[in-house]
């Protein structure tokens, strides 16, 4: 036989009210509900923190990426500047090359004493080869002594010295060859 409930379903609140929780279970149940609430609240807070951290990381990552691109450009700029400076130094050294050589030649020539003169100056590996004539060994000694005090060359070394007894030379002279270092 089919039964009909003409009163309809009772409301949820009424049904809850109808539940009778035994007294012994009320305290544990309340504790369980409280714990669940705390855990849910904590989880919510953590979710929010996580979302903020993700957002913060994304912003930092974007900023870092932009700064890396700028840094790469700056590095290219720095490398280019260093190369330009190296080229500039080379060009300046080339522009000064004649002066440096001129100063050295003038310094050598100015230090040669009255009783000696040069016949050739030639560059050699690590220094210069100087050939000349001197009116005797004393004049040659003066020449070497004068070159010792030079600021543009160092270590004057006598390679050879011999009497120059050619017929076209009126005074007895010494032909000499010296080597000076850079």
């Amino acid at each position: 036989m089919t039964g009909f409930n003409y009163l309809g379903e009772p409301a949820l609140v009424d049904r809850l009210h109808a539940i009778r929780v035994p007294a012994a279970l009320r305290a544990p149940l309340l504790a369980l509900v409280s714990v669940a609430f705390i855990v849910l609240a904590w989880w919510g807070i953590e979710l929010r923190n996580l979302s903020a951290a993700v957002n913060e990381e994304r912003v930092a990552s974007t900023r870092l990426e932009a700064s890396r691109i700028d840094l790469a450009r700056t590095k290219v700029l720095r490398i280019d500047l260093q190369a330009m400076l190296a080229l500039d130094r080379q060009l300046r050294a080339i522009r000064l090359s004649g002066s440096q050589l001129g100063v050295r030649l003038a310094d050598i020539a100015n230090r040669i004493p009255q009783r000696a003169w040069l016949t050739s100056i030639a560059p050699v590996q690590g220094g210069m080869d100087i050939n000349g004539r001197a009116e005797g060994m004393a004049a040659l000694g003066d020449t070497i002594a004068a070159l010792v005090s030079s600021t543009t060359v160092t270590n004057p070394t006598l390679i050879r010295a011999s009497s120059d007894d050619r017929a076209d030379i009126q005074l007895p002279t010494i032909a000499f060859e010296l080597r000076v270092d850079d």
Binding site: L50, A53, V54, E56, E57, V59, A60, S61, R63, L64, A66, S67, R68, D70, L71, R73, T74, V76, L77, R78, D80, L81, A83, M84, L85, A86, L87, D88, Q90, L91, R92, A93, I94, R95, L96, S97, G98, S99, L101, G102, V103, L105, A106, A109, W117, L118, T119, S120, I121, A122, P123, D168, Q170
Partner: protein, 163 residues
Amino acid sequence: MRAHALDMYELANHNEASVRQASALRAARARVAADVERLCGQASDGAATASLLRLLSDESKRFNVELRSLAPETIEAPAPSSRRTDTLRSFAVTLNVRGRFRNIVAMLADVPRHEVLVGVRDVTLQTAQRPQSGVVSLDATVRATVYRVGKRTTEESHASQSL
């Protein structure tokens, strides 16, 4: 995650501190580029040779030195060492000049200071006339290198200026 973000912030701050020097670097490069432009000489070997001949002719008159011969060498002279060695092209020339010591030295010092980029490598001096004859003339064999700055530098310079 926060620690990672903090690390990235610190790195970005460090990068940005370096990037802040970029404007100073740009200004410095502009100054150096202008200086290189002023010093770099002729743009082609032909132009450099033509200018060199004019220069030597003028200088020999100015310093009263006789230019006796000029011989370009076929071997490419090595440029001074650099990362951009290939941008500094060069060819060697040997000059023979005759004159008084003081005039030759003055000419050697002056030649590299003109429009043509000439580096004087070395010089060999020998007496041409004996002291007894009055004026002491010297024969000087001058080995020089004529440089020109390659086009690549200019192009690179323009490309990096757009950064």
